[in-house]
Amino acid sequence: MRALGLFLLLAGALSAQQQAPHGDLAADKVAERYIGDDKAIEAGHELYLSVCSGCHGPTAEGGRGPNLITARNARRASNEELFAMVKNGIPGTDMPPSPLPDDQVWQITAFVRNLSAPAFLQNVKGDPAAGKTIYYGKGGCNKCHMIRGEGGYLGPDLTNIGVSSNLATLREGVFEPNKRLTDGFRPVIVTLKDGKKIQGVAKNNSNYSIQVLENSGKLHLLDKNEVKEVFFREDSWMPSDYAQRLSEQEQNDLLAFLAKQAIRPPSKEKSE
């Protein structure tokens, strides 16, 4: 109840700042003013921290309320539907209606929408060119990852990572690689019956066969009859100390570079 109380308290304070109504503008025209707009997202972020974070968590990764980065109903909702959820609440749940003026509800909507938008469209505080230098140099990322056919085989291909991931997922993947191991990339050491060891990632595994890809690109299609032992490491082959090895600026630069990796660069209009 504390969060709801804070919500209502703030709502009362903010209600004095109501702005002019939107008049006859069509809903999609209204949405265009906020969704993807840097200032609206930033303002929405501030409002979110004040009003929403009590339930949804300071990073929107959930708490009493759901994770807003991954929640299906938030991701799949149209801009107008998302706005309506924030403004009217969700009946039958603890999500209350908001007394905030529409302008501010739209700002929160813009912030929430941005959470799950492709990283390519999100605001990343970094320099992609500097990030590229880190990717191929200090970070050594290309030793295990490919972009447009260049690089190693152990990690996921990053050619389209700016579109296939949002910023939060991307950040987690780089700096907390052991939090969630991606299917097809489980680190494995296989010992064959002849004593030979194969180390790489398991592209697949069953009672009868296992398919292992080494970082060299050597792919082993193994029948379990040939295998003496399969050992899955708990930790990814990916180094987990980039947060320590890279300065905050370097981290942002690297994320900015990765966020720009797209096969078909999306436009903000298309993403809505």
């Binding site: 030793k143 579109v163 890809l213 690109g217």
Partner: protein, 458 residues
């Protein structure tokens, strides 16, 4: 143990991170799919849509025989999630199988059926069926429904390049299985049933850049354009939605083209409508058209010539000839000289054939009057689906037989003189089975030993 290996090249990176230093780095050997491998034809591998460049689709493997085929049982199933219809022919190389579906490719362990990687182009709303991937070097190639040719690393499914080669805003969609030859990837387009200007295109395998583009409908003023009309020339069809064959000695592609548009009403396209319903011979290096042969001039029954063109060496009237053979959708089986395109022979391969009395000495059909679709409907055989279609024909050099999937069926064809509007699904109406007549599929085999097919159908 089956091991699949990459080559060590400029693109390869050796791990140097301390954490990865312990990982084994195996000595690498050549395992690239070369043009010569595809040229050699199928064996343990199946490297191109039709098995070999001659489109013979014959495997020399002999483990399955007429005696033991009754013992064949499924070893694995792979469920293609969300697929509406899987129309893909797998490519198999070095223990791996590559299968495509609309906007996606799966790489499977061919022995176990387990998935090694999956690539999906997200965000493409268009969902058309896909006829298969191609393979060359260490890459797998496929086309998306919205006409991007995509090159993937064949070990991890990573994208090497993605190149749009046709614009869906111009009516195109794409389903073709690309054909990899030397340093080029050949692709075609679909959409001829609602108006496109067809073309065949070669892209460079290395970077996806365009090598050449050959329009299959002439531009205004070009030879053949006189056989069209002002409403149809820019949207004439002649799609290139099935893979063609390739003659390595001539260095020519032998490629099929699709129907004219509007499919069933010819009033706005009064001539032959080149180069629809054709086989075209195309120089691989330049994209120059060397010859064409049109099976159904001024087609009003939607009889694309997309059936496989089999390249065979036959003895005809005592003379050895390099020919191309096609069991065409219009119900006739054709033999052409593949160096000149000269018409050598045609005969029917279905019983239900009413639109033409035969084929004259120049290869043109001798039309039966009254078979043009009209507003009231006209029953014509074969059906709009064709006496043959995209289904795979094959030729077995040991038996000397060519095998064709045939359809004995007729349709009531109707036509509309409505003003043709491209890209809205308008085809000038169509054909439907007469009530109670669904037709029969028959697998037929014909002998190559005589040029004449008549009487040799089993």
């Amino acid at each position: 143990m089956r091991t699949v290996q990459t080559t060590l090249g400029a693109r390869h990176a050796v791990p140097t991170l301390a954490l990865l230093a312990a990982l084994s780095i195996a000595p690498l050997t050549q395992a690239q799919v070369r043009y010569e491998d595809i040229l050699a034809g199928p064996g343990e591998n199946w490297l191109t849509f039709m098995g070999d460049y001659a489109a013979n689709r014959h495997s020399p493997l002999d483990q399955i025989t007429a005696e033991n085929v009754k013992n064949v049982v499924p070893k694995w199933f792979f469920y293609v999630e969300g697929a509406r219809r899987v129309g893909s022919y797998p490519v198999v190389y070095d223990g791996m199988m590559y299968v495509s579906n609309s906007n996606e490719v799966y790489a499977l362990d061919a022995v176990s059926g387990r998935q090694v990687w999956h690539y999906r182009q997200e965000g493409v709303e268009m969902q058309r069926q896909n006829r298969g991937p191609a393979i060359l070097g260490d890459r797998v190639f496929f086309v998306t429904s919205d006409c991007h040719l995509v090159a993937l690393n064949r070990y991890n499914g990573g994208v090497v390049w993605d190149a749009e080669y046709a614009d869906p805003e111009q009516g195109y969609h794409c389903t073709v299985a690309p054909v990899a030859i030397k340093d080029k990837i050949i692709v075609g387009v679909s959409g001829g049933d609602s108006g496109i200007r067809g073309f065949l295109e070669a892209r460079n395998a290395e970077d996806g850049s365009q090598a050449w583009k050959l329009w299959t409908v002439p531009a205004k003023g070009e030879p053949g354009s006189e056989g069209w009309g002002p409403k149809t020339l820019d949207w004439g069809g002649a799609g290139t939605w099935m893979p063609g064959a390739y003659d390595p000695e001539l260095n020519w592609l032998i490629w099929p083209t699709g129907n004219p548009w509007p499919d069933f009403y010819g009033g706005d396209r009064p001539g032959d409508n080149l180069y629809t319903d054709c086989l075209i011979a195309v120089d691989l290096d330049t994209g120059e058209m060397k010859w064409y042969f049109q099976f159904t001039p001024h087609d009003v029954w939607d009889w694309d010539a997309q059936e496989p063109p089999l390249l065979l060496d036959l003895t005809i009237k005592g003379k050895k000839r390099k020919v191309v053979v096609q069991a065409n959708r219009n119900g006739f089986y054709y033999i052409l000289d593949r160096k000149t395109g000269e018409f050598l022979h045609a005969s029917p391969f279905v019983d239900k054939l009413t639109w033409a009395k035969g084929i004259d000495e120049k290869g043109r059909p001798i039309l039966v009057p009254g078979m043009t679709p009209n507003a009231q409907g006209v029953e014509v055989c074969p059906t709009v689906r064709g006496a043959a279609n995209w289904m795979s024909d094959a030729y077995n050099p040991e038996t000397g037989l060519m095998y064709v999937m045939t359809l004995e069926a007729c349709d009531v064809y109707t036509a509309s003189a409505k003003d043709p509007k491209p890209m809205v699904g308008f085809a000038g109406t169509g054909g439907e089975n007469p009530p109670g007549h669904t037709g029969r599929f028959l697998l037929r085999a014909s002998s190559r030993r005589q040029a004449s097919v008549s009487g040799n159908i089993r």
